[in-house]
């Protein structure tokens, strides 16, 4: 029997101000599955992730069917950190991993564990680096490390590979497949990289003109859509 979805969205309507940006949307994210949201800028992909996190108002239902602890991992598109704030990578990662206030320091054993975690995203040795001194790609990998430990049941990724170079993108994709296929996490990801979507996605939801169309990547990402995206033009009508 197929596992029930970890995330089940039914009849979802999202508003931006008084404007409906998404109406009567439905989608499911299964355990061990990678579900990718695609669509033009401003169509409501990130707002949908925010609604799942309880950070955006919506009507309809968003149900989370937890099997274990019910942890959500999240990598934002923009991390609004003030780059002059003196917070190191170790302190940032320790914020959710130790009870002791990080201003009193991060213990040696904890540091070792954090360095191992960073090694999973190719960032070992960066513990003492201030967050503000990281490049966009490095910061993105630190955020990914933060999201995958402890293993989340649902991983929400908002254009996680946007700042990564080619090598880091490949490592990221391998890691994502490992977390999903081997460890069983359900992944809901926003992406504009159609080649990446084809490589990773089990299911794709195209958000377009307030509606959604879901299915396997081969069916949803048609040649027309790829062309539209490449030209930066509007999407084909669903």
């Amino acid at each position: 029997m197929q596992d029930p979805p970890v995330l089940e969205i039914r009849n979802l309507t999202l508003l931006r101000g008084n404007r409906v940006i998404l109406a009567a949307a439905a989608l499911e994210v299964a355990p061990r599955g990678i579900h990718v949201l695609v669509g033009p800028n401003g169509c409501g992909k990130s707002t949908l992730l925010a609604a799942v996190l309880g950070m955006a108002e919506f009507t309809g239902s968003i149900r989370l069917h937890w099997r274990a602890g019910g942890r959500i991992g999240y990598v934002p598109q923009f991390f609004g950190v003030d780059r002059t704030l003196p917070v190191t990578v170790a302190e940032f990662l320790a914020l959710t991993r130790q009870r002791r206030p990080v201003c009193f320091g991060v213990g040696r054993a904890r540091r070792a564990a954090l360095d191992e975690l960073l090694a999973r995203v190719g960032m070992e040795g960066f513990l003492r680096r201030p967050l503000g001194a990281l490049s966009g790609g490095e910061l993105q990998r630190v955020l990914l490390a933060n999201a995958i430990d402890p293993l989340p049941e649902l991983l929400l990724l908002d254009e996680p590979a946007s700042g990564l170079d080619e090598s880091a993108t490949r490592s990221f994709e391998e890691l994502l497949l490992e977390i999903s296929s081997r460890d069983g996490a359900a992944v809901l990801m926003v992406s504009h990289d159609l080649a990446q979507v084809r490589r990773l996605a089990d299911e794709v939801t195209l958000i377009h003109r307030g509606g959604v169309r879901s299915g396997p990547p081969a069916r949803i990402i048609s040649g027309d859509l790829a062309e539209s995206l490449a030209l930066g033009a509007d999407y084909p009508a669903s």
């Binding site: 999240y74 609004g80 704030l85 003196p86 917070v87 914020l95 959710t96 990080v102």
Partner: protein, 292 residues
Amino acid sequence: MTDFYAWTAALSERGTLPEVFRYAFFVRGLLAVLLLAPLLGGISHLVVARRMSFFSAALGHAALTGLTIGLLLGEPLNGAYGGIFGFCSLAALAMVYIKRHSALPSDTLIGVFLSVTLGLGICLLVAVTKRFNIHQVEAVMFGSLLTVTDTDLLLLLVLGLTLVTVLAVIYNALLLDSLDHTTGRAAGVRSEFIDYLFVMLLTAAIIVSIKIIGALLIEAMVVVPAAAARNLARTTRSYLALSIVAALAAGIGGLFLSTRFLVPTGGAVVLVLSSLFFVTLVGGWMRSLIAK
């Protein structure tokens, strides 16, 4: 406490301590500063991390209005805590509520609140000065050692310990929420609760500090220590430590200056603090140059 003041006075007479320790009011002021500095220095780095400097300025002005309301309602000049706490809490909660439910930029909103509270405070001040000597009111506006009592010290100790304990418990969640609300939310941080709780803690810290620093200058003590520390700090740990050191140095230095030159304590403290900011600013620049 009388025995303690007698003891410090005796040490002063023997030449062990400076002459100014003969006066109980100075010793009380010093104790107040020693209690206040870690509290304000500690809270200061969170105020700056949460980008609430302007919010703190508005709260300082609200404290002035709260003071006048308290006095008009019959509270004593030396302890108008009810009026200050009531009005500051109301203003702080209203600012956070409207900020969270409005599309207006928060600095615009805070500017509106600052204007409203200041306008109201100045109008009420006219009524207050009919009942009190303006110099007595000035002491609360700009801070004065003479007004600090043993009860104030006790209040400062109890409230300070409570605030530090609560801040220690919520510190990691508070800092994560300051860095990025959504990442905090995904990690289970209740951003709204944290927002309201922190402004109430800040309000309480401001209220217990008003007698020394003054209502109009308190914003400096919850912003400048962190600003000075940020010029040099590289980790959260050093950021907190340097904020506290800056607040302590300014508090003690300002207290001595205030006694020596007979100027309001708050003003003297803020001047020392501002000097520290510029010294650390140059220090930070020099360090960057050397590193290059």
